[in-house]
Structure formats: structure tokens, C-alpha cells
Symmetry: C2
Subunit: 214 residues, 2 copies
């Protein structure tokens, strides 16, 4: 959201599983994201952060620049955006992304191998991912962006999850051409290109990860 609004931020590494007291003092939930803006109390969680940023831009927008309404312009459009944000930040995360991150990424940081049920959990998450890619394809086939004609928080939420899964080389794009076309279009935006430069130490992404012609 900050990137789409062209707000510069300093990113700070935080490993929430370390339960650092100074971090818990900022967000007692011990979760990310947390956003610290000059002159405001800390904002905790994607829900509070994104709604706050969408209510009014944090820095004045350059004019004449087309006004971005990431939450949608009307009341029913906002409900559709929020339905899909919930879908990608919670349903897809629970059924796919969080599982695969726990299995493939967390062991790199913690040094603890993934738990025993690994093979079953991996299979289930991969099976679920195909269902979510089908749903993205279904939406992308009917609409220009996932929630309607305009880019919205729904696209950002979906791309946040999908880019993690793509980093982990888990996305079988060839079976989901409409989802692929949507993600190609989103990847070419400046805000997303910046995110794609982020790396997990010790776990390089596949070559096509940053490629716009993947």
C-alpha cells in the first residue's frame, strides 16, 4: 500500500518468533506487519495499517496524479474488496501460504527441522493452492483486476501471498493462464518490482521470480 501511494519507508527486519520484548511492547500480538509513522501511534496488523492508509494518503499525492482508491469507490465495491482481502490474507494464508512457509522457510531461520507430519501437510497445502489459483483465474477471467475494474487492496493481498509461493517455486503457472496474466500485469507495477528485490538469506528464489516474462 505504501509503495502504491509512493511513500518511502525504511524496512526493519523483525523475527516475530523470537518474541523480542521491545517488539512486543510495540505490538503485544507479536505479529507483523507493524507500521510506525511520524506523529502517530504504531499501527499493528494488515487490517489496521491498510485501512488507515486508505482513509487518507499519509503524504500528499503529487498532482495531477490519478487518485488511487485501493478500497474501491463505492460502498458495495468496498465490501467486495474486503471480502477478497479476507480471502487472501486469511483463507489462502491458513490453507496454503502459512503452511508452506512453516515447512520451507521457518527451518532456515530457527535451525529446527519441520515437524513430522511434513509430507502430508505439504501435499495438502499444494492441493489447496491449486484451488486458490483456480479462484484467482476465475476472478481474473471476468474482471480487469480481482475485485473489479480498478486495482484494489484485493490485488495487493493476493499478490502478497502469491509472490511468497512463487518465491518458493510452488506455483504451477502453466495450468492457470488467467491467473498468470493477472500476476504478470501486477508484477510490472513499480511498487511490486521493489518488493521482488527482497530476499530470504540462504534461500534464493527461482530465476523466473523477478522475471516479467515468466
Amino acid at each position: 500500500v505504501l509503495g502504491e501511494h509512493e511513500v518511502e519507508v525504511e524496512l526493519v527486519d523483525e523475527r516475530p518468533w523470537e518474541w523480542r520484548p521491545a517488539f512486543l511492547a510495540i505490538n503485544p500480538a507479536g505479529e507483523l506487519p507493524v507500521l510506525e509513522l511520524d506523529g502517530f501511534a504504531s499501527l499493528c496488523g494488515a487490517y489496521a495499517c491498510s485501512e488507515f492508509l486508505c482513509e487518507r494518503p499519509v503524504v500528499p499525492q503529487p498532482e495531477p496524479r490519478r487518485h488511487l482508491q485501493l478500497l474501491g469507490g463505492g460502498r458495495e465495491e468496498r465490501a467486495e474488496v474486503r471480502r477478497l482481502v479476507d480471502w487472501f490474507l486469511h483463507k489462502m494464508d491458513r490453507e496454503v501460504t502459512a503452511e508452506l512457509v512453516a515447512l520451507k522457510v521457518e527451518p532456515i531461520y530457527t535451525g529446527r527441522p519441520a515437524p513430522d507430519a511434513q509430507a502430508d501437510a505439504m501435499r495438502a497445502a499444494r492441493y489447496n493452492l491449486r484451488y486458490h489459483l483456480s479462484y484467482i483465474s476465475f476472478l481474473a477471467d471476468q474482471r480487469r483486476w480481482l475485485a473489479g475494474d480498478e486495482l484494489s487492496l484485493a490485488d495487493l493481498a493476493a499478490a502478497a501471498g502469491i509472490s511468497i509461493l512463487d518465491y518458493l517455486d510452488e506455483v504451477g503457472w502453466e495450468d492457470f493462464p488467467a491467473a498468470k496474466a493477472w500476476y504478470q500485469r501486477y508484477k510490472s507495477r513499480r511498487a511490486m518490482r521493489l518488493l521482488l528485490t527482497d530476499r530470504i538469506p540462504g534461500l534464493p528464489p527461482p530465476l523466473a521470480y523477478t522475471d516479467l516474462d515468466f
Copy 2:
């Protein structure tokens, strides 16, 4: 939220685990709540429903009636309300409520016994519940309502989870007097009293469940 806004609704039973095609056609996520209002597309999920209802009351409010601002009056107040809604609808749900419902309620409906890991999962959820009750006590000790001076969605989200856990006789109130005083105050509101008449067939709540002097 509808109750607090004094909007009458007809409640319809839905068993989301049955994946009823007619229900999936309304909400492809297959989850509750879903809200159908005359003249609007269906609203899916607590996030879309509650934000929609808080943006503008669905029916005109009787005057002179104090205007309820369940999302908070200012931008930072709204961020605090949303932080806590996230906490109770997602963090507490994942760590406590959904676990205990899966173990104690779902077997009644599905006829399938809870899975093997039952004792461990039950112990973990009960342990986590004490942490969430401590946090409610901490908030209730410092503020009139959980997110500040005014009743907000944060109280509704917390009470939604806590009332389920209280129905299941899982809340050791005696160790959390500030949380208890908050819940007593919330229980006495008309909107909550109506919710407390709801019953799970075959699983009666403890006697104190509807009692204001529990």
C-alpha cells in the same frame, strides 16, 4: 453489529462444513457470517459485513438516540479498534476458540469423534485462553471499554469469542476479575442478551451462561 444498531434480522441456520452448493454460490469461501440485505449484493465475512454496517446504518436510527460509532470516532481510534478486532477474530480464534469448537462442538454435528491429538490440543487451547483473558483484563483495567472510552467493534469481537468459550464452560472467571466486570457490563446490553438465547442442540450451556451475576 445489527443488534447494536437495532436492525431486525432473520437468522438462518447454515452448516458450512456441508458445502451446500446453494450456499457456496452466495459465498464461495464457504464461511460464515453472510449477510443478505434488501437491495444489496450479499456481504461475505465479518470484515466486509462489519465495515459495511459501520459506514452508515442500514436503517435510519431513531432520534434522539446517541450515535453509536462502533469503529471509533477518529483515525487513530479506528486503528486501535481494528487492531483489536483482528486480535479477537483471528489470533484468539486460531489459538483458542476454533480449537475448542472443533474439539467440543463439531463432533456433535458431524457424528465424527474429534481427532486423536485431542488431549494435547485441548490443553494447549486452555493454556492460551488464560493468556487472552489476561489481555482482556489488562485492557479492561485501563479503559472503560476494550479499545477506549466508547463501546466499539473490539468489544463485540471479543464478546463473540468469549461467549462461545463461556457457553462451553471454559472460562475461569475467578482469576480475571477485570475481564469479568467487562463481560458482565457487555452481557447486560440488549443486543448481547438476544444472542445469549441461541442454543446448540444437544449441548446446553452452563447455568451461569445467561446470568448477569455469574
